[in-house]
Amino acid sequence: MKKTTKAIVVSALSIVSISGLAACGSDTESADTTVAANSTAPATPEITVTGQWARQSPMATDMGAAYMTINSNVDDELVGAMVDTSVAEMTQVHETIMGEGDSMKMQEVKKIDVIAGTPTELKAGGYHVMLMKLVKPLELGTEISVTLKFAKAGDVVVTVPILEEAP
């Protein structure tokens, strides 16, 4: 009988310790889930852009970046972007890629797949429209016009406000 009670206490000890540890266990980050809207694809491709903004360009640099969320009613591809030469000399679609550890680099991408009914996000640390050789700094409170080029929907012109941070 004594042996049995000892066993109970010992197992209680271990269970308590384990659950105690679990209580201070590492942070679990809840994944961002996006629910795709069900949509039947009509014949005419239609693009909706929301939450667009471009970062106020810091002094002393001639690089800028624009971000947005793209929605399409059909599967499409963003194949390029353009701004007026009065804004920047060159515009490319870029992606920041995470490498080993915390290392990251930017690279040009040929296209971004836009899946019907699923918002495609261009956001900091991921895809962005890169404005290179800015003619003048992107000033807070102003707007620029960005032409997005889609494989199916064609050109979509978006008015992009200059902000400090994502809206």
Binding site: V9, L13, V16, S17, A22, A60, T61, M63, D102, G125
Partner: protein, 238 residues
């Protein structure tokens, strides 16, 4: 207990398991009936095993920091990088009672670097007078392009208190990176300059110790939280 309330999920797990622990212990007590000393000692041992993990949690006051607390002790004490303008060596540690944010980046970086620097700027706005004790040192990983004319002007658009650090040579950059376990490279691919750098910001205290690391993407509220904790800790010792 503090650590049980930092995240939603562990909070639920922790509370439920502790209730369960107590009922289990009560059960054990009843079964034992406290019939002899040996059993009492064992029961007391069981209680202390419950108390131990809890006290371990409460000692980890750093668990309310939202950045990452490095398990190994990183220190940049004694490591210096050339500051511009002026060309003097800047030692990578905070002034007494302050916190120094050390960031490796480059100015031709329109996406990652400004995201972090704007978040730092806004975090400072959120902590009121404490912000006066927050210093920032940006070490460029691209010293060929980020000259003494460019880096200070770039940083001045984010904060009025900063150190523009431009390594005078490769060894200086590498020794600074090694202190933090950071890496970077600048290579030319098809005529284009490609820069790889870490996205982490390191918070260093007045001994040069890295007290917390902010991964890329940490928002200004989380940064403000960490700065408040770290600076209040340092107020008591100042």
């Amino acid at each position: 207990m503090a650590c049980l309330f930092t995240q939603d999920e562990p909070r639920v797990t922790g509370t439920v398991s502790q209730r369960w622990n107590f009922s289990l212990l009560l059960d054990v007590f009843i079964k034992l009936g406290m019939r002899n000393l040996r059993q009492t000692i064992l029961a007391v041992l069981a209680i202390s095993s419950l108390a131990l993990p809890l006290s371990a949690c409460s000692q980890e006051s750093t668990s309310s920091l939202l950045g990452y607390v490095p398990p190994s002790q990183l220190s940049s004490s004694g490591v210096s990088v050339t500051e511009q303008p002026g060309g003097k060596a800047f030692e990578l540690k905070a002034q007494e009672g302050e916190v120094l944010i050390v960031y490796f980046g480059y100015t031709n970086c329109p996406d990652v670097c400004p995201t972090t620097l704007v978040a730092i700027k806004n975090a400072k706005k959120k902590i009121g007078a404490l912000a006066e004790r927050v210093d920032l040192a940006m070490i460029t990983v691209d010293p060929q392009r980020d000259t003494a004319n460019i880096l200070p002007r770039y940083l001045s658009s984010f904060t009025d208190r900063f150190h523009a650090l431009i390594p005078a040579n490769d060894a200086e950059l590498r020794s600074a990176e090694n202190a933090f376990g950071a890496t970077s490279s600048v290579i030319t691919v098809d005529g284009k300059i490609e820069v790889v750098h870490g996205g982490t910001a390191y918070l260093v205290d007045d001994t040069g110790m890295v007290v917390v690391q902010w991964p890329f993407g940490l928002d200004s509220n989380s940064m403000a939280n960490d700065l408040t904790i770290l600076l209040n800790e340092r107020t008591q010792t100042k």
